[in-house]
Symmetry: C2
Subunit: 263 residues, 2 copies
C-alpha cells in the first residue's frame, strides 16, 4: 500500500534513493522543530500548524510525513528515549569498565541530570500521557526505552553475581508480587537463570526510589517549599547504593586515578 516501490536507483546497495533521502530529511526537520517547540513552549506548545509555518509549509502538508499530532509526539518521544539512553550509556562508558561502583553512580547521576536539563521531555516521557489517547500505539519508543533500561540491568547484574548485597527473604515476595516481578523481568529482558525474583524486587525498589525523587524535582512540586532538590537526590542515591553494597561518593569528587576535569 504505502510501501514505496519506486526509487530503486541504487537500492541494491542499501543506499536510499534521492527521494527517500529528502523525505527522511524533511521528517527529521519536522521532528527537530517540534522538539524545539516542546522545550520552548512546553508539551501543549507543540502544534502541527506552528511546525509547518516555521518550515514554510502548510499544516496539511505534514500529513505526508506524520499521521497526526499524536504520531508526531510519539515519534519525538522515541527519539528522546534514544537520546536519554545515549546519555546514560555515554556516562557509563566514561568510567573504566571494571569500576562497577562508579559506573553505577555516574549512570544514575546522568539520568537525573538529563531529566532536569530536559524537563519538558521528561514530562512527556515519564509523566502522565495527558495529550495522547490512552490506547495509542507507543511501540516506536519501546525499543529505545528498553535500551535505556538495559544499561542499568547490566550494571545491576554485576552486583548480583558479585553478591554485593544480601537478597531479601523469599517470604517477603508474596505470590502476587512474584507473578508481577516475573512478568516484568521476562518482558523487559532482565530474566536469566541465575536471577532470582528477590533480585528483581530489589531492582524495582531501587528504581522506584530514584524515579520518585526525579519526578518530584522535574515536576516541580516542592519548589515552594524546598529550593534545590539535588541534595535530596544525592541522599536517596547514597541510601540506595549503600543498600546495594555500592561505594558512594559525593558529587564533586573527581577522586584519584581519574582524568581531572575540574569544571
Amino acid at each position: 500500500m504505502t510501501k514505496p516501490q519506486v526509487a530503486r536507483g541504487r537500492a541494491d546497495q542499501g543506499t536510499l534513493s534521492r527521494r527517500e533521502r529528502v523525505r527522511e530529511a524533511t521528517l527529521a526537520e519536522i521532528k527537530a522543530i517540534a522538539r524545539r517547540h516542546l522545550v520552548e513552549h512546553g508539551p501543549s506548545g507543540v502544534s502541527l500548524r506552528a511546525v509547518a509555518r516555521e518550515m514554510g509549509m502548510t499544516a496539511p502538508g505534514l500529513y505526508r510525513y506524520v499521521s497526526g499530532i499524536d504520531a508526531l509526539l510519539i515519534a519525538i518521544t522515541a527519539d528522546m528515549f534514544d537520546e536519554l539512553a545515549d546519555a546514560v550509556a555515554a556516562a557509563d562508558a566514561s568510567v573504566p569498565e571494571e569500576d562497577t561502583d562508579r559506573r553505577i553512580l555516574t549512570s544514575l547521576r546522568a539520568f537525573r541530570t538529563w531529566a532536569i536539563d530536559h524537563r519538558s521531555e521528561f514530562a512527556v516521557m515519564f509523566g502522565p500521557r495527558a495529550r495522547l489517547d490512552p490506547n495509542a500505539d507507543i511501540t516506536p519508543g519501546l525499543a529505545a526505552a528498553r535500551r535505556f533500561a538495559a544499561t542499568f540491568y547490566t550494571l545491576f547484574d554485576r552486583l548480583l553475581v558479585e553478591r554485593r548485597f544480601a537478597l531479601p527473604d523469599r517470604a517477603q515476595v508474596t505470590p502476587d508480587l512474584d507473578r508481577e516481578l516475573r512478568s516484568f523481568a521476562e518482558r523487559c529482558g532482565f530474566s536469566a537463570p541465575h536471577i532470582p525474583v528477590e533480585a528483581v524486587m530489589v531492582l524495582t525498589s531501587c528504581w522506584v526510589r530514584l524515579y520518585g525523587v526525579v519526578c518530584m524535582e522535574v515536576f516541580d512540586h516542592m519548589s515552594i517549599v524546598m529550593g534545590d532538590l539535588e541534595p535530596l537526590f544525592e541522599a536517596e542515591l547514597r541510601a540506595v547504593l549503600t543498600d546495594l553494597g555500592v561505594r558512594y561518593e559525593p558529587p564533586g569528587d573527581t577522586s584519584p586515578s581519574t582524568i581531572g576535569t575540574p569544571d
Copy 2:
C-alpha cells in the same frame, strides 16, 4: 473595584445574599462539570466552551465566574486536594486513635487508592504542569495540599516521640541537604523544637518512595511490562513501614477486634 458592595440584605448575620448564593451555585456547577470532563476525557478534555455548552451557556459568559481556563483548572485542583485530604483524613479517623501503626497503614493505602481511583485528577495534581503557565498563581490549592500533608505529619510525629526508629547519622546530612530540609520543614509546618533534621530526612525519603510507586502506577508506564502494580506498592509500603518500626499487615487482613468487612 470588583468587591460587591450590593446585596447586604442579611449580610449582618453572615448569610449570603440571594445573588451571592446563586453565583456560588453556578460556580460550583462550572467546577463540577469541568471536573467530570477531566475524569471522562483527560486533562486536555477540559474546555470552557464545552462546559458552557453543557450548562446551556456560551463560553464568554463563564468569564463572569472564572478568569480563564487556567484559573478554572487551578480552582478544581484546589478542590481535588481538598477531597484527597478528606479521603486520607477519613481513613485515618476510621482507625482507633491509639493504634498509630494501623492509622499509618490505612492512611497511606488511602492515598494510593484515591490516586488510582482518580488517575486524571492525580495527574493534574502531582504530575507536570503541562497546561499551566509555570508562573501561574497556585495559592488556592496550597492550603488544601498542606492539610493533606498534615495528616502524615501528625502520624510521623508520633513515631518520632515514641522513638520507633533509629535516626540516621547526622554525618549523612550534608550542609546542602540540611539547608533544604530545614526550609522544607519550616515552610510546611513540620518544624518543632523536638524535631531534628535527620527525622525530616527520613520523612521525605519515605514519602519519595511511596510517591514514586504511585506515580509509576498512575502514569501507567509499566503496564506493558507489569500488569498490576499493587503488589509492588505493598512491598514498598512494607519496606518503608518496617524501616520506621511500624507494624505492617497485608491488605486483606481485617485482623482481630475490628469490624468485619469481609468484602
